[in-house]
Symmetry: C2
Subunit: 105 residues, 2 copies
């Protein structure tokens, strides 16, 4: 689904990753983390897709909300699993959304 966010400015975390060929357990935990993110203060929405790369963009109302989510205990454990077991490579970008426009959603 396309995230129905607030009016800019707000923040986006663009997370791009390539999985190892072996990544048992990844999908379940990814879904679990999306559900957990949705309950965090300042969370606005999330969009995810995976082809050769996986792209997950989560939207937040402040940098503080992003920091809190990054340091959430269960999320920290998941990040560690990702780094050691599942991700061949990844990149995280923190960006301020300055403008948006859409078709009628």
């Amino acid at each position: 689904m396309i995230a129905n966010t607030i009016s800019p400015p707000y923040y986006a975390v663009i997370f791009t990753s390539i999985l190892n060929s072996e990544h048992e357990g990844y999908q379940n935990l990814a879904v679990e983390m999306e559900e957990l993110a949705k309950g965090q203060p300042g969370f606005l929405g999330i969009e995810s897709a995976r082809s050769e790369v996986g792209i997950s963009v989560s939207y937040w109302d402040s940098l503080e909300a992003i920091k809190n989510w990054k340091n959430n205990t269960l999320h920290l454990e998941a990040q560690e699993k990702g780094k050691t077991l599942w991700y061949k490579s990844y990149k995280v970008r923190i960006a301020k959304v300055e403008k948006d426009y859409s078709s009628s959603l």
Copy 2:
């Protein structure tokens, strides 16, 4: 591939879309537009994936570069086709990347 961009700040265009069930011709033109984007001034990289939604994030060195690409003649024609033929819905977000970090890429 994960885009190997410059050090922040730089800009991201986050384009999220849902296709109509009929979208003949879409994939070819999407590939063509990616190739065309790569040749534009200020282009830094692009990441694309599609599951339920398609997410394409392109990276640019300035807002002016984004504006020029938006108004590129061939790109304008493609945008029009997208709106009238292929996209059930879409959203475009222009964001300033303030920070990034990655695993060893």
